[in-house]
C-alpha cells in the first residue's frame, strides 16, 4: 500500500484545493461580485444626493404610524378571519396537490427522466407567474370574488411548495430507502416507510410557511375584489389613517407569530 517513506517535512505541501476547483470557484465568485457591483452602481446612478437624511426622513414617516389605533381591532376582525379562511383553504388544497408533484419532480424518487423533466418544467412555469398576474388573470377568467382569489393563492403556493418540498426530498438520507428497496418494497411503500418520516417535519413547516405567505398575500387578493385584511390595510393607508394601518400590521404580526409557534410545535412533535 504505502510506496514511499513519508518524511515529516514533505518537500511539496499540497494546497487545500486542487488548482482547478480553486479557479472555478474563484471565477464564479468574481462573476457574482462583478454583477453585484454593477447592479449596485446601476441602481444608484439615479440617486439624488446621499443617504444622509435617510434615517431622519424615515423617522418622520414611522412616527406617523404611532401610536397604533387598536380601537379598530373589532372592526378588522372579520376581514382578518376571511383572510385566514381563504389561506386555510388555499394552503390545504395546494398541500395535497404538492405531494404527487413534489415526488415527481424529485430526482431521487422519479428516476424516469422524461417524467422528471416534464414535472419540473411544469412547476417552473407555474412558479414563474407572478401572483399579481395570477390574480388578474383569474379575475379575467372567473370574474371577481373569492374563487379567483383562492385559486390564485393555490397556484401560487403550489409553485413554492412543490419546489421546496421536492428539494427536501432530494436531500433525504437515501440509505433507509435503499434498505426498503432491498427488502422488496415497491415505490409507494419505499416512499411511505423511508421517505415520509424523514420529510414530514420539513413538510409541515413548509406548509405552515406557505400558509403564512398566503395570509400576507391577501394584499393581492384585495386587488381582485376577494376582500380580506389586505384590502383594509390598503384602504387605511390610502386614507392616511396610519395608526389604523399599524394596528392591522400588528395583527398580522401576531398571526404570523402564532403560525410560527404552531409550526415549531409541530416540528418538535415530528422530529
Amino acid at each position: 500500500m504505502t510506496k514511499e517513506k513519508p518524511s515529516l517535512t514533505a518537500d511539496k505541501t499540497p494546497s487545500i484545493y486542487p488548482a482547478k476547483t480553486k479557479m472555478q470557484v474563484t471565477l464564479i465568485f468574481f462573476v457574482i461580485i462583478g454583477i453585484y457591483l454593477f447592479s449596485m452602481y446601476w441602481t444608484q446612478r439615479e440617486m439624488v444626493g446621499g443617504i444622509g437624511g435617510a434615517l431622519g426622513n424615515m423617522y418622520v414617516v414611522i412616527e406617523k404610524f404611532f401610536p397604533p389605533n387598536f380601537a379598530v381591532l373589532p372592526a378588522i376582525w372579520e376581514p382578518m378571519a376571511q383572510t385566514i379562511q381563504m389561506a386555510i383553504l388555499a394552503t390545504t388544497v395546494s398541500a395535497i396537490l404538492t405531494v404527487p408533484l413534489a415526488l415527481l419532480s424529485a430526482q431521487n424518487v422519479t428516476t424516469f427522466k422524461p417524467l422528471y423533466y416534464l414535472t419540473r418544467t411544469f412547476l417552473n412555469i407555474l412558479r414563474t407567474i407572478p401572483d399579481l398576474v395570477l390574480a388578474v388573470l383569474f379575475v379575467g377568467l372567473f370574474g371577481i370574488g373569492l374563487f379567483p382569489g383562492i385559486l390564485a393563492l393555490i397556484v401560487f403556493s403550489l409553485g413554492i411548495l412543490a419546489k421546496l418540498i421536492s428539494e427536501t426530498i432530494e436531500s433525504v438520507d437515501m440509505n433507509p430507502m435503499e434498505a426498503m428497496r432491498a427488502s422488496g418494497g415497491n415505490t409507494l411503500q419505499v416512499i411511505w416507510y423511508a421517505l415520509v418520516p424523514q420529510v414530514a417535519p420539513q413538510f409541515a413547516s413548509l406548509v405552515l410557511y406557505v400558509f403564512e405567505i398566503n395570509i400576507r398575500a391577501s394584499v393581492v387578493l384585495g386587488l381582485v375584489g376577494a376582500g380580506g385584511i389586505g384590502l383594509i390595510l390598503n384602504q387605511q393607508l390610502g386614507f392616511y389613517n396610519y395608526p389604523n394601518a399599524m394596528a392591522i400590521i400588528i395583527l398580522i404580526f401576531v398571526v404570523v407569530i402564532v403560525i410560527e409557534f404552531i409550526s415549531n410545535k409541530i416540528r418538535e412533535a415530528l422530529l
Partner: protein
Amino acid sequence: MIEFKDVSLVYPNGTQGLKNINVKINDGEFVVIVGLSGAGKSTFIRSINRLVTPTSGSLLIDNEDILSYHGKNLRKLRTKTGMIFQNYNLVKRSNVLKNVLAGRLGHTGTLRSILNLYKKEDIGLAYESLKRVNIEEKLYNRADELSGGQQQRVSIARVLTQQPNYILADEPVASLDPPTSHQVMTYLKKINKEDNITTIVNLHFIDMAMEYADRIIGMRAGEVVFDGPVSEVSEQTFEEIYGRSIREDDLRGGANKS
C-alpha cells in the same frame, strides 16, 4: 443458486468496483467474503440484489439473469433476498417496530402497509425477530435513540422478519460487541443450516470468517483472489487477500513502516 459470469462493474466515476468475477454459490452455502477496505466486498454483495448494477457479464440467480430485471421482477428478487447493511439504514425517526415491520413490505399489499394494517402474524414475527437479537424491550423507542450496536441489531431483526431465501449481510457485526457478534453469526449460521438459506456475509475478521464460513471468498481490488473452503485457507491465502502475510511483519509493521 447464484452465479457470477464474468461480471464487471465500473462506477460512473470510473472506479472499477468489480473485475471479471466468476463465482458460483450453491444453495444453502454460507459464504464469507473478506478483503481490505475498498476491495469491492460491498459492491459484490449489492450486485446480487441489484442495488448496484454490474456493467458487464451476467449474474444468474436460480438460473435467471437478474441484470435485466426491473419493476416487479426486481421487487420479487429483492423480496427473496434479505440484506443487512454496514450503516444499519434504519429510518431514524420511526420506531423500532415500524422499522422491523418494513421487512414485510415485499410480502404486504401496498394499501395494507400504508395504512399500517399488518397481519397479526407479521407483527408477531417482527417481535420474534427483535427477541432473537435481544432488543425486544426497545420496541417502541425511536431508532435514533439507540446506540450504534442496538441499531444494527434492529436492522438484523428487519431482515429476519423478511424471511428471505438469500441473506446478504454487509459487515453485519462491525458495530457489535463480541458476544452479540457471535450470537448474530451463530444465528445466521443456524437459519442458514436449518432453513437452507444461502447466506453471504462480508466480514473484516478472518478469524470469525473461519469460524462460521463454509467457504471463503477473498477479494482484492475488485477481483476474487481466493475462493475455497475454509480448510484450504493458508498463510498464502492471507497474503493474497491482504497483499502481505497476516500478523508477522505486516500487522505490527504497518505502523512501524510509517
